[in-house]
Symmetry: C2
Subunit: 68 residues, 2 copies
């Protein structure tokens, strides 16, 4: 199991949190996504380590930006 | 035809705009809802004048507050 925390900018409300959770959660192998709205921290748990480009693409698909 | 502008607080993104538009748009007689996100102004067009309590209830159902 792998767990990685990213920082996402642009989320302003619970709808934004839901969008990011859904897109990142749809990545292959992801078992949990936890978003902290005030900080923008997105913690992703997955069966194996994810490629940051895949995570970035999912975040951008939701309409937000991955910064770290 | 009636048109009335209200001010709604708490909307922070386009998802919020969509939620308010959907809830207010579902009120009987409403034919158009236009939301300006930066100002929170919601302009509602309807067949007949709406009761402010009905509009307030729809806005609160969406998760926001009607202030004026």
């Amino acid at each position: 199991m792998a767990q990685q925390t990213y920082t996402v900018t642009g989320m302003t409300c619970e709808h934004c949190v839901r969008s990011v959770t859904e897109e990142v959660g749809a990545l292959s192998g992801v078992t949990d996504v936890a978003v902290d709205l005030p900080t923008g921290e997105v913690t992703v748990t997955s069966d194996q380590e994810l490629g940051v480009d895949d995570v970035r693409a999912a975040v951008e698909e939701a309409g937000y930006k991955l910064t770290a």
